[in-house]
């Protein structure tokens, strides 16, 4: 039985700030005490660097750090040596693109969509600039979704990789990834998945999806900031060149300039990593798996449907993704600029995101530059949805500007 009130007790941000409605989970998530305690214990009980100490606390830190690979392996169904740590999904995706760049030649194509986050576009843009690859966009419908037959039409002999979000960050469109990847496999096309908005919200299984790479951030799944994961199929990452060079990632180097890298995944982790973040990430993954990803997903679907139902009854708003069943609700209040509306919600203790949500070319699809995104998570409640819809119903230009007087 999913007990949201009990879950809320696990989150100090909620118990310390009962006045807040936090519907900005697409940006970042609150942390359960278990995660905060895990980070604390590293600093109060076994502080030391990893991979180089000979003493007991260092060994403990080493074990805790590497243990996270196993926990993430359980979370996404992969081998622990296929899990490399980065500072966030952005740096993980930059590694993927850099690694793959060595396999690309001029005229090769990567397929993206216009709903992608900047972190899954700009690294590819640079590859276009520097290496002359082509970028092509898979068509999307008005709600940001990919149709499989459209996708198949995009494929020709130049396509070498497809890189898309599992769940897009503005509209929450869930792409038919498994089917897309199966098409990719038939054509020998590499698949890269941005799972930032999917991880921690639903079961993500890399074996089931069949993807070659899948990346995500810790902070969007109840873990600490500054930690991210790159999953890469081992045969692809074992010889992949690392983006960052330095300590911790080399086995040997000589004065003639030769470097021998460590095996993957350590070869990707140059410099002292975010040890606290990685340790906290495993606590977050365990916390979510203990509750059950399917239960969390079911709670979110139910709550989203509840909120959508309330919002559909309002005649002062336009909702951009009413047919989606998961992900954020994205809308505008009629005749009110998104930030002005978000300002009204903010003074009423509601946290949402307004703007273009780092997806600056999506307006080509949905026809608006700016929107308000309400994104839910495991600790949000129907009572919050009630209060939210009531506040939204009160927004107009007068009330939005009225907060300054």
């Amino acid at each position: 039985m999913y007990d949201v009130e009990k879950i809320r007790q696990d989150f100090p941000m909620i118990t310390n700030h009962p006045e807040l409605i936090y519907f900005d989970n697409g940006a970042t998530t609150y942390k359960p005490k278990k995660v905060i305690d895990a980070v604390n214990s590293f600093y109060t009980d076994f502080t030391s660097n990893v991979e180089r100490g000979d003493y007991e606390t260092a060994i403990k830190a080493d074990k805790a750090y590497d243990h996270t690979r196993e926990v993430i392996g359980r979370l996404i169904n992969c081998d622990s040596r296929e899990v490399a740590f980065f500072s966030n999904i952005t740096s993980a995706l930059n590694q993927v693109v850099y690694g793959l760049s060595k396999l690309f030649k001029k005229g090769d194509t990567v397929l993206l969509t216009q709903a992608e986050h900047a972190s899954n576009l700009l690294p590819w843009f640079r590859l276009k600039e520097e290496q002359g690859i082509n970028i092509a966009y898979i068509p999307l419908d008005k709600q940001g979704r990919i149709d499989l037959s459209d996708f198949e039409k995009c494929i020709d002999e130049t396509v070498k990789a497809v890189s898309v979000a599992y769940v897009t960050n503005v509209l929450g469109s869930v792409q038919p990834l498994k089917e897309m990847i199966s098409i990719c496999q038939k054509h020998g096309i590499l698949s890269v998945v941005d799972a930032a908005q999917a991880i921690g919200h639903r079961k993500v299984d890399v074996k089931d999806l069949g993807c070659d790479f899948l990346c995500f951030s810790s902070h969007k799944m109840c873990g600490p900031d500054g930690a991210g994961v790159m999953y890469g199929r081992y045969e692809l990452i074992k010889d992949m060149p690392p983006l960052l060079l330095g300590g911790g990632m080399n086995a040997r180097f000589n004065n003639d300039g030769t470097i021998i890298y460590k095996d993957a995944p350590q070869r990707f982790e140059a410099g002292t990593p975010n040890i606290e973040g990685v340790i906290g990430l495993s606590a977050a993954a365990e916390y979510l798996m203990d509750i059950g990803l399917d239960s969390i997903h079911e709670h979110e679907l139910k709550l989203r449907a509840y909120l959508l139902d309330k919002m559909l009854k309002l005649d002062n708003i336009e909702i951009y993704n009413p047919d989606d069943i998961s992900g954020p609700l994205t809308f505008n209040v009629k005749d009110v600029f998104a930030q002005d509306a978000a300002g009204y919600l903010a003074v009423n203790n509601v946290c949402v995101r307004s703007g273009n949500h780092c997806a600056k070319i999506l307006h080509n699809i949905i026809g608006t530059d700016q929107s308000i995104r309400a994104s839910l998570y495991l600790y949000n409640t129907e009572a919050e949805a009630d209060r939210f819809a009531e506040l939204v119903s009160k927004i107009d230009l007068n009330s939005a500007v009225g907060i300054f007087f």
Partner: protein, 150 residues
């Protein structure tokens, strides 16, 4: 009610802001030889505006602006144009200084700011300060550029 009292009246000030938002003054860019432009989009992921300035013989002859912006950015930039057109560069800089003092919740000269006192409470919402200052920051840069040209 005298003018002074009106500028203390919340409803009046709100209506002023709404009016400048719905019907902004000095709105729309022009292609003219005398104009210099500043595009402001880097500070926030939301507002994206361009401000133009035409100065002749040390006097601000025209101010224009356009772009995608919230009510507070639009109205504050609209009022700024009204305040600055016809002023000398030195007078304009003094007005801008007073405006920033008000936004930072310091002592300021309300008489110099006229309608722009509508934004006197913005300091209470730190996340919106950049909205109320984006056009004014652009103007500051344009005036500095003019000064440097001397």
């Amino acid at each position: 009610m005298g003018e002074k009292d009106l500028f203390d009246d919340a409803n009046f000030l709100r209506e002023l802001v709404l009016d400048h938002y719905k019907y902004p003054h000095n709105h729309g860019l022009v292609a003219g030889d005398g104009y210099i432009s500043k595009h402001m989009a880097s500070d926030s992921c939301i507002d994206d505006i361009t401000v133009q300035l035409d100065v002749q013989d040390e006097v601000i002859r025209d101010v224009r602006f356009d772009g995608v912006a919230c009510a507070i950015s639009t109205a504050s930039t609209s009022m700024m144009g009204d305040l600055l057109i016809g002023k000398t560069i030195a007078e304009a800089k003094k007005i801008i200084d007073e405006y920033f003092k008000m936004i930072e919740n310091k002592e300021y000269d309300a008489d110099m700011l006229e309608e722009a006192v509508a934004f006197k409470n913005v300091y209470k919402q730190a996340n919106r300060i950049k909205c109320a200052t984006i056009g004014w920051n652009a103007m500051n840069e344009l005036l500095e550029k003019k000064e440097d040209e001397k």
